[in-house]
Amino acid sequence: MSTFDTLCKILVKDYAIAAESLTPDTTLASLAIDSLGVIELIFAIEDRFKVSVPDIDATAVGEFGTLSELAHYVDQLLANRDALAVAEPSGAALATPS
Protein backbone atom coordinates (compact mmCIF):
# COMPACT_ATOMS: atom_id res chain seq x y z
CA MET A 1 0.00 0.00 0.00
CA SER A 2 1.37 3.43 -0.91
CA THR A 3 2.00 6.08 1.71
CA PHE A 4 -0.82 8.14 0.26
CA ASP A 5 -3.23 5.20 0.56
CA THR A 6 -2.23 4.62 4.17
CA LEU A 7 -2.76 8.31 4.96
CA CYS A 8 -6.20 8.08 3.41
CA LYS A 9 -6.99 5.04 5.55
CA ILE A 10 -6.08 7.01 8.69
CA LEU A 11 -8.24 9.94 7.62
CA VAL A 12 -11.22 7.73 6.81
CA LYS A 13 -11.00 5.78 10.06
CA ASP A 14 -10.10 8.52 12.56
CA TYR A 15 -11.75 11.55 11.01
CA ALA A 16 -14.85 9.95 9.52
CA ILE A 17 -13.99 11.40 6.13
CA ALA A 18 -15.53 9.78 3.04
CA ALA A 19 -12.82 7.90 1.11
CA GLU A 20 -14.05 9.16 -2.25
CA SER A 21 -13.46 12.79 -1.21
CA LEU A 22 -9.71 12.17 -0.77
CA THR A 23 -7.37 12.82 -3.68
CA PRO A 24 -3.65 13.65 -3.79
CA ASP A 25 -4.67 17.30 -4.19
CA THR A 26 -6.96 17.37 -1.16
CA THR A 27 -5.75 19.87 1.47
CA LEU A 28 -5.85 19.32 5.24
CA ALA A 29 -7.57 22.70 5.57
CA SER A 30 -10.40 21.53 3.33
CA LEU A 31 -10.87 18.56 5.68
CA ALA A 32 -11.30 20.96 8.61
CA ILE A 33 -8.22 19.54 10.34
CA ASP A 34 -7.00 22.41 12.52
CA SER A 35 -3.78 22.81 14.50
CA LEU A 36 -4.91 20.32 17.16
CA GLY A 37 -6.09 17.92 14.49
CA VAL A 38 -2.60 18.07 12.98
CA ILE A 39 -1.05 17.13 16.36
CA GLU A 40 -3.32 14.11 16.44
CA LEU A 41 -2.60 13.23 12.81
CA ILE A 42 1.14 13.33 13.50
CA PHE A 43 0.61 10.92 16.41
CA ALA A 44 -1.26 8.54 14.10
CA ILE A 45 1.42 8.85 11.40
CA GLU A 46 4.15 8.06 13.94
CA ASP A 47 2.20 5.01 15.11
CA ARG A 48 1.37 3.68 11.68
CA PHE A 49 4.70 4.28 9.93
CA LYS A 50 6.94 3.74 12.95
CA VAL A 51 8.67 7.05 12.37
CA SER A 52 9.32 10.04 14.59
CA VAL A 53 8.22 13.50 13.49
CA PRO A 54 10.56 16.06 15.07
CA ASP A 55 8.87 18.91 16.98
CA ILE A 56 10.44 21.34 14.57
CA ASP A 57 8.47 19.74 11.71
CA ALA A 58 5.12 19.61 13.54
CA THR A 59 4.03 23.05 12.37
CA ALA A 60 5.24 22.36 8.86
CA VAL A 61 2.97 19.32 8.62
CA GLY A 62 -0.03 21.56 9.16
CA GLU A 63 1.18 23.88 6.45
CA PHE A 64 1.48 21.22 3.77
CA GLY A 65 -0.85 22.16 1.00
CA THR A 66 -1.98 18.75 -0.07
CA LEU A 67 -2.09 15.11 0.91
CA SER A 68 0.49 14.25 -1.76
CA GLU A 69 2.93 16.70 -0.15
CA LEU A 70 2.25 15.13 3.23
CA ALA A 71 2.81 11.67 1.73
CA HIS A 72 6.08 12.88 0.26
CA TYR A 73 7.20 14.17 3.66
CA VAL A 74 6.37 10.81 5.27
CA ASP A 75 8.31 9.00 2.51
CA GLN A 76 11.32 11.15 3.36
CA LEU A 77 11.00 10.22 7.03
CA LEU A 78 10.82 6.56 6.04
CA ALA A 79 13.88 6.88 3.81
CA ASN A 80 15.84 8.60 6.60
CA ARG A 81 14.79 5.95 9.07
CA ASP A 82 15.81 3.13 6.71
CA ALA A 83 19.14 4.79 5.94
CA LEU A 84 19.81 5.00 9.67
CA ALA A 85 18.89 1.33 10.08
CA VAL A 86 21.42 0.34 7.39
CA ALA A 87 24.05 2.51 9.02
CA GLU A 88 23.33 1.02 12.44
CA PRO A 89 22.17 -2.53 11.74
CA SER A 90 22.40 -3.59 15.37
CA GLY A 91 21.17 -0.30 16.68
CA ALA A 92 24.70 0.35 18.01
CA ALA A 93 25.58 3.89 18.90
CA LEU A 94 28.68 3.97 16.69
CA ALA A 95 28.17 4.43 12.98
CA THR A 96 30.33 2.42 10.60
CA PRO A 97 32.99 4.69 9.03
CA SER A 98 32.39 5.04 5.32
Binding site: D14, Y15, A16, L36, G37, I39, E40, I42, F43
Partner: protein, 412 residues
Protein backbone atom coordinates in the same frame (compact mmCIF):
# COMPACT_ATOMS: atom_id res chain seq x y z
CA UNK B 1 -31.68 41.20 45.03
CA UNK B 2 -32.94 39.43 41.93
CA UNK B 3 -34.94 36.21 42.05
CA UNK B 4 -33.70 33.09 40.26
CA UNK B 5 -35.85 30.73 38.21
CA UNK B 6 -34.93 27.24 37.08
CA UNK B 7 -36.12 27.20 33.48
CA UNK B 8 -34.40 24.08 32.17
CA UNK B 9 -33.14 20.80 33.55
CA UNK B 10 -31.11 18.06 31.90
CA UNK B 11 -29.87 14.80 33.30
CA UNK B 12 -27.89 11.72 32.34
CA UNK B 13 -28.05 9.57 35.40
CA UNK B 14 -28.33 6.05 36.74
CA UNK B 15 -31.99 5.15 36.38
CA UNK B 16 -32.92 7.69 33.71
CA UNK B 17 -31.65 9.87 30.91
CA UNK B 18 -34.32 12.57 31.21
CA UNK B 19 -35.72 14.31 34.30
CA UNK B 20 -39.03 12.45 34.08
CA UNK B 21 -37.63 8.94 33.52
CA UNK B 22 -35.09 9.51 36.29
CA UNK B 23 -37.79 10.64 38.71
CA UNK B 24 -40.20 7.87 37.69
CA UNK B 25 -37.55 5.29 38.61
CA UNK B 26 -37.01 6.99 41.98
CA UNK B 27 -40.66 7.06 42.95
CA UNK B 28 -41.00 3.44 41.83
CA UNK B 29 -38.21 2.63 44.29
CA UNK B 30 -36.03 1.22 41.52
CA UNK B 31 -32.34 0.92 42.24
CA UNK B 32 -29.86 1.56 39.42
CA UNK B 33 -27.06 -0.15 41.33
CA UNK B 34 -25.66 -3.21 39.56
CA UNK B 35 -22.60 -5.38 39.29
CA UNK B 36 -19.94 -3.61 37.22
CA UNK B 37 -19.32 -5.29 33.87
CA UNK B 38 -15.80 -3.81 33.66
CA UNK B 39 -12.86 -6.10 32.98
CA UNK B 40 -11.27 -4.99 36.21
CA UNK B 41 -14.30 -5.75 38.36
CA UNK B 42 -12.98 -9.12 39.64
CA UNK B 43 -10.08 -7.30 41.32
CA UNK B 44 -12.44 -5.17 43.42
CA UNK B 45 -13.66 -6.25 46.81
CA UNK B 46 -16.98 -4.53 46.07
CA UNK B 47 -18.04 -4.88 42.44
CA UNK B 48 -21.20 -2.81 42.48
CA UNK B 49 -21.82 0.68 41.14
CA UNK B 50 -24.49 2.74 39.41
CA UNK B 51 -22.92 2.91 35.97
CA UNK B 52 -24.51 4.19 32.79
CA UNK B 53 -25.21 2.32 29.59
CA UNK B 54 -24.17 5.36 27.61
CA UNK B 55 -23.16 5.22 23.96
CA UNK B 56 -21.35 8.48 23.18
CA UNK B 57 -21.12 7.63 19.46
CA UNK B 58 -24.85 8.32 19.18
CA UNK B 59 -24.19 11.96 20.06
CA UNK B 60 -20.62 12.79 19.11
CA UNK B 61 -18.77 12.27 15.81
CA UNK B 62 -15.38 10.49 16.06
CA UNK B 63 -13.02 13.49 15.80
CA UNK B 64 -14.91 15.35 18.54
CA UNK B 65 -15.34 12.29 20.69
CA UNK B 66 -11.58 11.83 20.89
CA UNK B 67 -11.37 15.20 22.63
CA UNK B 68 -14.10 14.49 25.18
CA UNK B 69 -13.57 12.58 28.39
CA UNK B 70 -16.65 10.72 29.61
CA UNK B 71 -17.20 13.46 32.20
CA UNK B 72 -17.49 16.08 29.44
CA UNK B 73 -19.72 13.83 27.34
CA UNK B 74 -22.20 13.51 30.21
CA UNK B 75 -22.09 17.25 30.91
CA UNK B 76 -22.66 18.22 27.28
CA UNK B 77 -25.63 15.88 26.92
CA UNK B 78 -27.22 17.16 30.16
CA UNK B 79 -26.59 20.78 29.12
CA UNK B 80 -28.22 20.19 25.73
CA UNK B 81 -31.33 18.79 27.41
CA UNK B 82 -31.49 21.76 29.78
CA UNK B 83 -31.09 24.25 26.94
CA UNK B 84 -33.80 22.57 24.87
CA UNK B 85 -36.16 22.55 27.86
CA UNK B 86 -35.52 26.24 28.63
CA UNK B 87 -36.42 27.29 25.07
CA UNK B 88 -33.96 30.14 25.37
CA UNK B 89 -33.15 31.91 22.13
CA UNK B 90 -29.62 33.14 22.42
CA UNK B 91 -28.96 36.65 21.17
CA UNK B 92 -25.42 37.99 21.20
CA UNK B 93 -26.34 40.07 24.22
CA UNK B 94 -27.58 37.01 26.11
CA UNK B 95 -24.34 35.20 25.40
CA UNK B 96 -22.13 38.04 26.50
CA UNK B 97 -22.50 37.78 30.28
CA UNK B 98 -23.81 34.25 30.64
CA UNK B 99 -21.49 31.56 31.89
CA UNK B 100 -21.12 27.95 32.91
CA UNK B 101 -20.42 26.69 36.40
CA UNK B 102 -19.73 22.96 36.67
CA UNK B 103 -18.99 20.89 39.75
CA UNK B 104 -16.86 17.77 39.48
CA UNK B 105 -14.91 15.83 42.06
CA UNK B 106 -12.58 13.79 39.89
CA UNK B 107 -12.71 15.57 36.51
CA UNK B 108 -11.32 13.55 33.62
CA UNK B 109 -10.48 10.50 35.73
CA UNK B 110 -10.88 8.06 32.84
CA UNK B 111 -8.36 9.93 30.70
CA UNK B 112 -5.87 10.32 33.53
CA UNK B 113 -6.04 6.62 34.20
CA UNK B 114 -5.85 5.66 30.52
CA UNK B 115 -2.65 7.68 30.25
CA UNK B 116 -1.10 5.96 33.25
CA UNK B 117 -2.14 2.54 31.93
CA UNK B 118 -0.40 3.27 28.62
CA UNK B 119 2.78 4.38 30.37
CA UNK B 120 3.03 2.00 33.29
CA UNK B 121 1.13 -1.10 32.22
CA UNK B 122 1.80 -1.08 28.49
CA UNK B 123 5.31 0.35 28.93
CA UNK B 124 4.70 2.82 26.12
CA UNK B 125 6.88 5.90 25.99
CA UNK B 126 4.06 8.23 24.98
CA UNK B 127 0.36 8.81 25.57
CA UNK B 128 -2.56 10.14 23.57
CA UNK B 129 -1.93 13.64 22.18
CA UNK B 130 -5.09 15.12 23.74
CA UNK B 131 -4.52 13.73 27.22
CA UNK B 132 -4.17 17.18 28.77
CA UNK B 133 -7.33 18.49 27.11
CA UNK B 134 -9.30 15.39 28.03
CA UNK B 135 -8.19 15.23 31.63
CA UNK B 136 -8.16 18.87 32.72
CA UNK B 137 -10.79 19.48 35.39
CA UNK B 138 -12.29 22.48 33.61
CA UNK B 139 -12.86 20.61 30.34
CA UNK B 140 -16.60 20.02 30.83
CA UNK B 141 -17.33 23.69 31.58
CA UNK B 142 -15.12 24.81 28.72
CA UNK B 143 -16.83 22.57 26.17
CA UNK B 144 -20.28 23.72 27.24
CA UNK B 145 -19.26 27.39 27.05
CA UNK B 146 -17.84 26.77 23.60
CA UNK B 147 -20.93 24.85 22.45
CA UNK B 148 -23.29 27.73 23.29
CA UNK B 149 -20.77 30.58 22.86
CA UNK B 150 -21.24 31.81 26.41
CA UNK B 151 -18.62 34.48 26.94
CA UNK B 152 -19.08 35.17 30.64
CA UNK B 153 -17.27 33.19 33.35
CA UNK B 154 -16.73 29.48 32.90
CA UNK B 155 -15.72 28.06 36.27
CA UNK B 156 -15.19 24.61 37.73
CA UNK B 157 -15.85 23.95 41.38
CA UNK B 158 -14.23 20.95 42.98
CA UNK B 159 -15.27 20.45 46.58
CA UNK B 160 -15.60 16.66 46.43
CA UNK B 161 -19.15 15.50 47.08
CA UNK B 162 -20.68 18.98 47.32
CA UNK B 163 -19.10 20.28 44.08
CA UNK B 164 -22.27 20.70 42.05
CA UNK B 165 -24.22 22.26 44.93
CA UNK B 166 -21.48 24.89 45.07
CA UNK B 167 -21.55 25.36 41.27
CA UNK B 168 -25.34 25.84 41.32
CA UNK B 169 -25.24 28.03 44.43
CA UNK B 170 -22.51 30.28 43.05
CA UNK B 171 -24.43 30.66 39.77
CA UNK B 172 -27.50 31.60 41.83
CA UNK B 173 -25.45 34.26 43.62
CA UNK B 174 -24.25 35.64 40.31
CA UNK B 175 -27.77 36.02 38.93
CA UNK B 176 -29.10 37.31 42.24
CA UNK B 177 -26.52 40.09 42.29
CA UNK B 178 -27.37 41.09 38.72
CA UNK B 179 -24.01 40.11 37.22
CA UNK B 180 -25.57 37.61 34.82
CA UNK B 181 -29.01 37.32 33.28
CA UNK B 182 -28.80 33.55 33.13
CA UNK B 183 -26.32 30.72 33.72
CA UNK B 184 -25.84 27.05 32.95
CA UNK B 185 -24.89 25.25 36.17
CA UNK B 186 -24.68 21.71 37.45
CA UNK B 187 -22.26 18.86 37.85
CA UNK B 188 -20.75 15.85 36.17
CA UNK B 189 -18.81 12.83 37.36
CA UNK B 190 -17.36 9.83 35.54
CA UNK B 191 -14.92 8.12 37.83
CA UNK B 192 -15.79 4.44 37.83
CA UNK B 193 -12.23 3.48 36.97
CA UNK B 194 -10.09 0.80 38.54
CA UNK B 195 -7.84 3.37 40.22
CA UNK B 196 -10.67 5.46 41.63
CA UNK B 197 -12.62 2.48 42.86
CA UNK B 198 -9.49 0.98 44.45
CA UNK B 199 -8.84 4.31 46.17
CA UNK B 200 -12.36 4.37 47.64
CA UNK B 201 -12.02 0.72 48.56
CA UNK B 202 -8.80 1.45 50.45
CA UNK B 203 -10.58 4.15 52.43
CA UNK B 204 -13.07 1.49 53.55
CA UNK B 205 -16.08 3.63 52.79
CA UNK B 206 -17.72 1.49 50.10
CA UNK B 207 -20.75 -0.67 50.82
CA UNK B 208 -20.30 -4.39 50.58
CA UNK B 209 -22.54 -6.13 48.11
CA UNK B 210 -25.87 -7.26 49.51
CA UNK B 211 -25.83 -11.06 49.45
CA UNK B 212 -29.36 -11.47 48.22
CA UNK B 213 -29.69 -8.47 45.94
CA UNK B 214 -26.76 -6.37 44.67
CA UNK B 215 -29.21 -3.57 43.80
CA UNK B 216 -30.09 -3.29 47.50
CA UNK B 217 -26.54 -2.67 48.71
CA UNK B 218 -26.92 1.01 49.58
CA UNK B 219 -28.90 1.36 52.82
CA UNK B 220 -28.99 4.97 54.02
CA UNK B 221 -30.14 5.56 57.62
CA UNK B 222 -30.55 1.80 58.21
CA UNK B 223 -28.89 -0.06 61.05
CA UNK B 224 -27.30 -2.45 58.57
CA UNK B 225 -25.86 0.30 56.33
CA UNK B 226 -22.20 -0.24 55.63
CA UNK B 227 -21.05 2.36 53.18
CA UNK B 228 -21.67 4.25 49.98
CA UNK B 229 -21.97 2.99 46.42
CA UNK B 230 -20.35 4.98 43.62
CA UNK B 231 -22.26 6.20 40.58
CA UNK B 232 -21.67 8.30 37.47
CA UNK B 233 -23.65 10.86 35.49
CA UNK B 234 -24.48 14.53 35.20
CA UNK B 235 -27.24 17.08 35.59
CA UNK B 236 -27.30 20.66 34.32
CA UNK B 237 -29.71 23.53 34.92
CA UNK B 238 -30.60 26.72 33.14
CA UNK B 239 -30.86 29.32 35.91
CA UNK B 240 -32.45 32.56 34.87
CA UNK B 241 -33.25 35.92 36.38
CA UNK B 242 -36.92 35.75 37.38
CA UNK B 243 -38.30 38.74 35.49
CA UNK B 244 -36.33 37.84 32.41
CA UNK B 245 -37.86 34.36 32.51
CA UNK B 246 -41.37 35.73 33.06
CA UNK B 247 -41.11 38.31 30.32
CA UNK B 248 -40.26 35.72 27.71
CA UNK B 249 -42.86 33.24 29.00
CA UNK B 250 -40.19 30.71 29.96
CA UNK B 251 -41.19 27.29 31.29
CA UNK B 252 -40.36 28.02 34.93
CA UNK B 253 -39.78 24.73 36.74
CA UNK B 254 -39.11 26.10 40.22
CA UNK B 255 -37.46 28.97 42.04
CA UNK B 256 -34.02 28.58 43.58
CA UNK B 257 -34.39 30.55 46.78
CA UNK B 258 -31.56 29.64 49.14
CA UNK B 259 -27.94 28.57 49.36
CA UNK B 260 -25.86 27.97 52.45
CA UNK B 261 -22.17 27.19 52.61
CA UNK B 262 -19.99 26.23 55.56
CA UNK B 263 -16.80 24.33 56.27
CA UNK B 264 -16.09 21.64 58.85
CA UNK B 265 -12.70 22.24 60.31
CA UNK B 266 -12.47 19.34 62.73
CA UNK B 267 -11.34 16.53 60.48
CA UNK B 268 -10.67 15.86 56.79
CA UNK B 269 -13.39 13.19 56.51
CA UNK B 270 -15.40 13.06 59.74
CA UNK B 271 -18.54 15.17 59.33
CA UNK B 272 -19.50 17.74 61.91
CA UNK B 273 -22.99 18.41 63.25
CA UNK B 274 -22.17 22.07 63.62
CA UNK B 275 -20.81 22.42 60.07
CA UNK B 276 -23.80 20.70 58.49
CA UNK B 277 -26.26 22.59 60.67
CA UNK B 278 -24.58 25.91 59.86
CA UNK B 279 -24.98 25.31 56.12
CA UNK B 280 -28.67 24.43 56.56
CA UNK B 281 -29.29 27.52 58.72
CA UNK B 282 -27.53 29.78 56.24
CA UNK B 283 -29.56 28.32 53.38
CA UNK B 284 -32.80 28.94 55.29
CA UNK B 285 -31.70 32.48 56.14
CA UNK B 286 -30.88 33.33 52.53
CA UNK B 287 -34.25 31.84 51.49
CA UNK B 288 -35.94 33.92 54.21
CA UNK B 289 -37.62 30.72 55.16
CA UNK B 290 -38.57 29.21 58.51
CA UNK B 291 -37.68 25.54 59.17
CA UNK B 292 -41.39 24.80 59.42
CA UNK B 293 -41.82 25.86 55.78
CA UNK B 294 -39.61 23.04 54.42
CA UNK B 295 -41.85 20.15 53.36
CA UNK B 296 -39.26 17.71 52.06
CA UNK B 297 -35.53 17.32 52.58
CA UNK B 298 -33.38 15.43 50.09
CA UNK B 299 -30.63 14.27 52.42
CA UNK B 300 -26.96 13.81 51.71
CA UNK B 301 -27.64 10.31 53.14
CA UNK B 302 -24.57 8.47 51.87
CA UNK B 303 -25.16 5.34 53.96
CA UNK B 304 -21.84 5.66 55.76
CA UNK B 305 -22.05 5.19 59.51
CA UNK B 306 -20.73 8.67 60.20
CA UNK B 307 -22.74 10.71 57.71
CA UNK B 308 -26.20 9.41 58.46
CA UNK B 309 -25.94 9.75 62.23
CA UNK B 310 -24.35 13.19 61.97
CA UNK B 311 -26.83 14.43 59.37
CA UNK B 312 -29.75 13.25 61.52
CA UNK B 313 -28.36 15.16 64.51
CA UNK B 314 -27.75 18.25 62.37
CA UNK B 315 -31.31 18.16 60.98
CA UNK B 316 -32.65 17.83 64.54
CA UNK B 317 -30.54 20.77 65.61
CA UNK B 318 -31.82 23.04 62.79
CA UNK B 319 -35.43 21.90 62.57
CA UNK B 320 -35.98 21.35 66.31
CA UNK B 321 -39.60 20.42 66.92
CA UNK B 322 -40.36 20.48 63.17
CA UNK B 323 -37.83 17.69 62.50
CA UNK B 324 -40.31 14.96 63.41
CA UNK B 325 -42.83 16.18 60.80
CA UNK B 326 -40.29 16.58 58.01
CA UNK B 327 -40.25 14.06 55.15
CA UNK B 328 -36.58 13.23 54.54
CA UNK B 329 -35.14 10.79 52.05
CA UNK B 330 -31.88 9.69 50.54
CA UNK B 331 -32.36 9.03 46.85
CA UNK B 332 -28.75 7.78 46.88
CA UNK B 333 -30.24 4.48 47.99
CA UNK B 334 -31.27 4.15 44.32
CA UNK B 335 -28.96 6.27 42.14
CA UNK B 336 -25.91 5.85 44.39
CA UNK B 337 -23.35 8.56 45.09
CA UNK B 338 -22.32 10.61 42.08
CA UNK B 339 -19.73 12.57 44.07
CA UNK B 340 -19.34 15.92 42.29
CA UNK B 341 -22.60 15.41 40.35
CA UNK B 342 -24.64 14.19 43.32
CA UNK B 343 -26.15 17.53 44.32
CA UNK B 344 -27.15 18.33 40.75
CA UNK B 345 -29.06 15.12 40.13
CA UNK B 346 -30.63 15.38 43.59
CA UNK B 347 -31.82 18.87 42.74
CA UNK B 348 -33.65 17.39 39.74
CA UNK B 349 -35.34 14.97 42.16
CA UNK B 350 -36.16 17.86 44.51
CA UNK B 351 -37.78 19.97 41.79
CA UNK B 352 -39.87 17.05 40.54
CA UNK B 353 -40.90 16.16 44.09
CA UNK B 354 -42.48 19.63 44.32
CA UNK B 355 -44.09 19.43 40.91
CA UNK B 356 -45.64 16.01 41.53
CA UNK B 357 -46.24 16.17 45.28
CA UNK B 358 -44.37 12.90 45.64
CA UNK B 359 -41.44 12.34 47.99
CA UNK B 360 -39.03 9.68 46.68
CA UNK B 361 -38.34 6.95 49.20
CA UNK B 362 -35.22 5.80 51.00
CA UNK B 363 -35.15 2.19 49.90
CA UNK B 364 -33.49 -0.72 51.75
CA UNK B 365 -34.55 0.75 55.08
CA UNK B 366 -35.84 -2.35 56.84
CA UNK B 367 -33.79 -2.21 60.03
CA UNK B 368 -34.10 1.18 61.75
CA UNK B 369 -31.07 2.62 63.51
CA UNK B 370 -31.87 4.22 66.88
CA UNK B 371 -29.38 7.02 66.09
CA UNK B 372 -31.26 7.78 62.85
CA UNK B 373 -34.73 8.38 64.23
CA UNK B 374 -36.49 10.71 61.79
CA UNK B 375 -38.98 10.10 58.98
CA UNK B 376 -36.89 8.92 56.02
CA UNK B 377 -39.88 7.95 53.83
CA UNK B 378 -38.85 4.30 54.13
CA UNK B 379 -39.08 1.97 51.13
CA UNK B 380 -42.14 3.45 49.41
CA UNK B 381 -42.62 6.84 47.82
CA UNK B 382 -45.11 9.10 49.57
CA UNK B 383 -47.77 10.53 47.26
CA UNK B 384 -50.36 13.27 47.57
CA UNK B 385 -48.14 15.69 49.45
CA UNK B 386 -48.16 19.46 49.15
CA UNK B 387 -44.46 20.15 48.73
CA UNK B 388 -43.82 23.87 48.47
CA UNK B 389 -40.23 24.05 49.59
CA UNK B 390 -37.41 21.53 49.46
CA UNK B 391 -34.00 21.57 51.06
CA UNK B 392 -31.22 19.55 49.41
CA UNK B 393 -28.13 18.72 51.46
CA UNK B 394 -24.66 18.03 50.15
CA UNK B 395 -21.65 17.47 52.34
CA UNK B 396 -18.10 16.52 51.46
CA UNK B 397 -14.73 15.16 52.40
CA UNK B 398 -12.68 18.24 53.03
CA UNK B 399 -15.62 19.66 54.89
CA UNK B 400 -17.41 21.87 52.33
CA UNK B 401 -21.09 21.71 53.25
CA UNK B 402 -23.48 23.15 50.66
CA UNK B 403 -27.25 23.33 50.99
CA UNK B 404 -29.76 24.48 48.38
CA UNK B 405 -33.41 25.45 48.89
CA UNK B 406 -35.97 25.43 46.07
CA UNK B 407 -39.57 26.63 46.04
CA UNK B 408 -42.50 25.45 43.98
CA UNK B 409 -43.62 27.73 41.19
CA UNK B 410 -47.36 28.03 40.93
CA UNK B 411 -48.33 28.77 37.36
CA UNK B 412 -50.95 31.47 37.07
Amino acid sequence: MKRVAITGMGIVAPGGSSPSTFFDALIAGQSAIRRLPSEFAPSLSTRIAAYLDFDPTLTFAPPRLRMLDRVSQFALVAAAQAMTAAKLELSDDLRARAGVFVGTGMGGANSVEAGYATLFRDQSDRIQPFSVLLAMNNAAAAWIASEYQLRGPSLTYSTACSSSAVAIGEAWRRIRSGESEWMLAGGSEAALTLGTMKAWEALRTLASEDRDDPAASCKPFAKDRNGLVLGEGAAMFVLEEWEHARRRGAPIQAELIGYGLSTDCEHITRPSVQGQADAMRLALASAECDPSEIDYLNAHGTATQANDTTETAAIRSVFASCAEQLAISSSKSMHAHLLGAAAAIELVASVLAMQTGIAPPTINLHHPDPTCDLDYVPNKARCGLQINRVMSNSFAFGGTNAVLVVARHLTA
